[in-house]
């Protein structure tokens, strides 16, 4: 029996187990590979998060980045990529790089840099889950780190300017979403019928864009035009995260999820109809 493992990460809302892409990736992978993880979401009563989140704690070992956490799980024999060929393993690495280079900047921008989104949704949400007085400082720090990352990796020569970069990163993100949609096609997961590491990463990046309700939603609107990616996210949410957390009974969560799904489908149909008119 493997030692009990505990994952500490950001919690969820809007029907998601977590809002944070990296936390979501790790949680999804754990579900896919059957790893028994005790998930502790960071809330006001938890001790203040220091360093990176998500963090996996198993006996005395503390591991922090998603790639390292997934490696650790694989070494503990929780391997979701068991049936992949060598070439598919190589494809996994390549597509993860694509996500990080093309989609992540726009994701960070939508959550942390776009001022309307940040002030009305992101900052209050994170601040409510961090104990005072860190709640005054930490969201601002995360926002500055996100901006820094975007400017340093995509900005032109110094002095860096955000405006030139914004249009480019959203264009790249939309192209990335299109590429993912073409690659997924009509299959249920990226490599056939069982989900793998790549599915965990894609889900981790896409689900927050898909579900979180922001005032400025150009990326979400683009994603909703790619029905196979929406179906991909919904499938994983209903199949693997049915028994989530926070006091809801499974049956209650089921009906809530089913209602949410129906509502989403209706909204999608409506928006499709409206676009056609």
């Amino acid at each position: 029996m493997a030692a009990p493992m505990e994952l500490s990460c950001w919690g969820g809302d809007w029907g998601l187990p977590s809002l944070h892409p990296e936390s979501l990736t790790v949680m999804a992978y754990a579900k896919f590979s059957g790893a028994p993880l005790a998930v502790n979401t960071i809330s006001n009563s938890w001790r203040a998060p220091k360093g990176d989140v998500p963090v996996l704690i198993s006996e005395d070992i503390v591991i922090s980045q998603p790639a390292k956490i997934l490696n650790f799980l694989r070494k503990q024999k929780y391997n979701a990529d068991y049936e992949l060929s060598a070439k598919q393993g190589a494809d996994t690495l390549a597509y993860i790089a694509l996500l990080e280079e093309k989609l992540l900047p726009a994701l960070l921008h939508t959550f942390w840099v776009e001022s309307e989104n940040y002030c009305s949704v992101t900052k209050p949400w994170f601040a409510s889950r961090i104990p005072f007085p860190l709640s005054l400082y930490l969201p601002g720090k995360m926002s500055r780190e996100a901006l820094n990352r975007i400017l340093l990796t995509r900005g032109g020569p110094p002095p860096y300017s955000l405006i030139e970069v914004e249009a480019q990163i959203y264009r790249d993100a939309k192209e990335c979403l299109n590429l993912l949609s073409k690659r997924l096609g009509t299959s249920q997961f990226f490599f056939g019928h069982t989900p793998t590491t790549l599915d965990a990463f894609v889900f981790g990046f896409l689900a927050p864009i898909y579900k979180v309700c922001f005032p400025r939603v150009q990326l979400q609107e683009h994603l909703k035009q790619l029905p196979n990616l929406c179906r991909f996210c919904d499938d994983i949410l209903t199949c693997y995260f049915r028994l989530t957390v926070s006091g809801h009974s499974p049956a209650g969560q089921d009906t809530a999820d089913a209602n949410l799904q129906k509502l989403t489908q209706l909204v999608n149909k409506e928006s499709n109809l409206i676009e056609k008119v």
Binding site: G89, A90, A94, A97, L98, L152, P157, K182
Partner: protein, 263 residues
């Protein structure tokens, strides 16, 4: 209608013998390989201030007609607008794969090269600092290279590579080479019979890593572990770079790089 490709198109990079660094040489070679594969003639012009002339601050950049375009991605788009493309024969899924693998090379190989050049103290002291500012007098040469080092280290910190050790970076290079080797398999090019911009990019980086002498051989050893990758580089070198009289930049670069870069 788009203008035809002019005869005097030029590619600008830093000085080949004394100044250019591993990562810039790789990027420049990738663009040269791409243009050779498209059969578009280009002259390589070396200028000490190429980085500052570039519209995005990165080398190489090409000057075609009255337009200036830098970096491989935009150059591929530009060339496509002129009617030349290597990836038209690919279907949608293959195009997605090609773009994903190009990002893998940028994400892992290029970042590892930058790390080695600017964050590994031994390499910085012995190779990077002397080379980077070499065309300029003291103290400008030191100031410029410290400034660049500060910029690159900031970037490494933002993407989470600052905490990595050299061994971990070499591990990542190995993983990337393994993925490329598995994808290439026994085919001549990544998408079987015809080379694409992915082949140009991979060639640019791997050939430069194999032929540049650094303080240790660890980086090139990682690539040499995969025989199909070295065969791939040799094949592209023979097909696109040998047999051109002047300006066979790969062979010149190889000859100059095989000489020691240590001062």
């Amino acid at each position: 209608a788009a203008e035809p490709w002019p005869e005097n198109a030029a590619l600008y990079q830093q000085l080949k013998e004394e100044q250019i660094l591993l990562s810039d040489n790789a990027s420049s070679l990738a663009v040269q390989a791409f243009l050779q594969m498209c059969n578009l003639p280009i002259q390589v012009v070396c200028r000490a201030n190429a980085e500052y002339m570039s519209p995005s601050g990165k080398v190489p950049f090409i000057h075609v007609g009255n337009q200036v375009v830098s970096e491989l991605g935009p150059i591929v788009q530009f060339v496509k607008a002129k009617g030349h493309s290597l990836s038209d024969g690919l279907d949608e899924v293959q195009k997605a794969e090609m773009k994903a693998y190009m990002e893998l090379v940028n994400n892992m190989l290029l970042t590892a090269e930058l790390y080695l050049q600017w964050c590994d103290d031994v390499t910085v002291e012995e190779i990077t600092h002397p080379r980077y500012g070499s065309p300029y007098p003291w103290p400008l040469n030191r100031i410029l290279s410290y400034q660049k080092q500060w910029e690159v280290r900031r970037k490494m910190k933002a993407i989470g590579w600052a905490g990595k050790t050299l061994e971990q970076v070499l591990e990542d290079v190995d993983q990337c080479c393994q993925a490329l080797s598995q994808r290439l398999g026994t085919q001549p090019y990544f998408f079987n019979k015809q080379p694409t911009e992915l082949d140009a990019l991979v060639f640019g980086h791997l050939f430069t890593i194999l032929t540049t002498q650094l303080t240790t051989d660890e980086l090139s050893e990682k690539v040499k572990n995969y025989s199909n990758l070295t065969a791939f580089c040799r094949r592209i070198e023979q097909q696109y770079f040998e047999g051109h009289d002047k300006d066979s930049s790969a062979t010149v670069a190889a000859r100059s790089a095989k000489r020691s870069l240590l001062r």
